[in-house]
């Protein structure tokens, strides 16, 4: 397994570093009683390509949901770019999310909008002028290899292309952190490698990338940091995770 040397898990105090993301003794229990995260602590430094690994139900998705405050921690703190997001008031959450690029397993594309309209959405939300939003959306589509497909509907794209469209939407606003939840789980190996290569390209220009995945090969090939979760806890066994 490559690039696991920068791995830092619960053994370090996140408060001592200036990470992009820092989980400190985070627990998350859902209302129905399921405890998805238990006293989890880890950091992701700015510029990392971090992979969150673990079996199904290990807490990967919950960990990623805590960063944009889709969920709030039951205990502990989640700090993003120096801001304790668990304590954010509701009105401040959208402004946090504008600095995050989110890529979902189910893509969450708007199928009644064209490809370029999907990518323009975060730009319009931030108040960009239509012409500027269109220009930046085209640039984002070009980066993910979807130039020329601007007017297509998402339904006309393949699974890999839809995922790349989702990435284009996530990076259109030039976020400092991109979070991706199982972005390759529904893709064949070639398409999955293409998607991860796109993430890698963004990582190389300084974007912090956090990908939740259980694909050991992809973790080994791309990650500069691995955070392994097992039953909601951060463990020091990334190799096992990669092999799971």
């Amino acid at each position: 397994m490559r690039a696991t040397s920068p791995l830092r898990c619960s053994t370090e105090d996140p408060a001592l570093a200036s990470p992009a993301i820092a989980f400190s003794h985070v627990s998350k229990r859902y209302p129905e009683g399921f405890e998805a995260l238990r006293d989890a602590s880890f950091v992701v430094d700015a510029g990392d390509f971090a992979c969150v690994t673990g079996h199904s139900g290990a807490g990967k998705t919950t960990a990623l949901k805590l960063v944009p405050v889709v969920e709030r921690p039951t205990a502990g703190s989640v700090v993003v770019n120096g801001q304790n997001v668990g304590a954010l008031r509701r009105g401040a959450i959208p402004f946090l999310r504008r600095n995050l690029g989110l890529v979902f397993q189910d893509q969450k594309l708007l199928h009644d909008r064209s490809v370029i309209e999907n990518v323009m959405l975060p730009l319009v939300v931030c108040g960009s002028a239509p012409a500027d939003a269109a220009r930046r959306a085209r640039a984002a589509l070009d980066k993910v290899g979807l130039a020329g497909r601007e007017k297509s509907l998402p339904i006309a794209l393949s699974g890999g292309e839809q995922q790349r469209l989702c990435i284009a939407r996530a990076v259109a606003n030039r976020p400092s952190i991109v979070l991706a939840d199982e972005p390759t789980s529904n893709l064949d190996p070639d398409a999955a490698a293409e998607v991860m290569a796109i993430f890698k390209a963004f990582h190389q220009v300084g974007v912090t990338v956090v990908v939740a995945t259980h694909d050991a090969a992809l973790v080994e090939r791309f990650a500069t940091r691995v955070i392994h979760l097992s039953h909601g806890r951060v463990t020091d066994a990334p190799q096992e995770a990669a092999g799971a």
């Binding site: 944009p68 889709v70 509701r90 009105g91 959208p94 402004f95 946090l96 999310r97 504008r98 989110l102 969450k108 594309l109 708007l110 959405l121 975060p122 319009v124 939300v125 931030c126 108040g127 960009s128 002028a129 239509p130 939407r169 606003n173």
Partner: protein, 302 residues
């Protein structure tokens, strides 16, 4: 500020495009609201026109003092002196018998009758305009004038005017109540329309919130939708009432002609029409606000 204006322009444009994609449903909604608003609006137009008609007839309480046909100038001066010193008299006018006959010849429906008279049977008279709202003072003055010599008859004309005014006030209040009730109906229609639209756009709302849309940004198109539905519904109501007035005016004109009048029903002025459109738009906005407050907050990304 520019971004805020851009958001509004984007929201309004998106709302108009969305409504234009379903023109039949939008037209039906507007028609329902139009018919709902047309009822109180039509009643209000009728009341306003009746008030106008009552104004033509002279809505202030009035006292008519008829002198005896053999009354001398001094008798008239005595009555005039009593009017000058009386309280509650706003103005008075002496109408000599010749002028009264001439007026009768000009009056609606009486011209033929006046023309058929051999000699002038009318007496000299005083037409007295009274200060409204003091019926006891009017009664006292009438009694005082009746006691004067050569005063043949004193007629207090306020009673039927009061009844008419009371009926018009009743009509106005009834139209207001109807408007209030049907305004609730308009709010309910808009509430439900916006609720359905929110459910239709659930995915879009979730995605928008995930990528950083504020609550205000998400709510704005629905406010525009409610306001536009109210506005177009108000326009439909005005069109329905204007059409109805046009149809009724044919018969009103024929009826008025039998009284020698050119009375026609009139629509309210531009200011009042603008107020109706503002009212319907605000009601649409209120319906949208209620719907958004109730339904949008429960849609959160998962």
């Amino acid at each position: 500020m520019r971004a805020w204006l851009r958001h509004h322009a984007h929201s309004l444009g998106a709302t108009v495009r969305r409504l234009a994609r379903t023109p039949f449903a939008f037209a039906l909604n507007a028609l329902v609201i139009g018919v709902t608003l047309a009822l109180p609006l039509g009643a209000w137009v009728l009341v306003v026109n009746m008030e106008r008609l009552a104004g033509h007839l002279g809505a202030d309480p009035q006292l008519s003092v008829f002198l005896a046909t053999d009354a001398a100038r001094a008798d008239g001066a005595r009555v005039e002196a009593a009017l000058k010193s009386a309280q509650g008299v706003r103005s008075y006018r002496f109408v000599p018998k010749d002028e009264a006959l001439a007026e009768m010849k000009r009056a609606q429906g009486l011209a033929e009758l006046a023309g058929s008279l051999g000699s002038n049977p009318l007496p000299d008279a005083f037409i007295v305009a009274l200060v409204p709202g003091d019926a006891p003072a009017a009664e006292r003055l009438a009694a005082e004038l009746r006691a004067l010599p050569k005063v043949a008859h004193v007629q207090l004309d306020a009673a039927w005017i009061k009844r008419l005014e009371a009926m018009l006030r009743l009509g106005g209040v009834a139209a207001g109540l109807l408007a209030g009730l049907l305004a609730l109906g308009l709010v309910a229609v808009t509430f439900n329309t916006v609720r359905l639209q929110i459910l239709t756009q659930r995915d879009e709302i979730e995605v928008s919130k995930l990528i950083g849309a504020t609550d205000a940004y998400v709510r704005r198109p629905f406010f525009y939708q409610g306001t536009l539905i109210g506005l177009v519904g108000g326009l439909a109501a005005l069109a329905l009432v204007a059409g109805s007035v046009g149809v009724l005016n044919g018969e009103v004109g024929r009826l008025a002609a039998t009284y020698g009048s050119d009375f026609r029903l009139q629509l309210p002025g531009l200011g009042d029409l603008a107020a109706v459109l503002t009212f319907s738009s605000v009601l649409g906005w209120c319906g949208a606000w209620l719907s958004v407050s109730r339904h949008l907050s429960v849609i959160e990304p998962d």
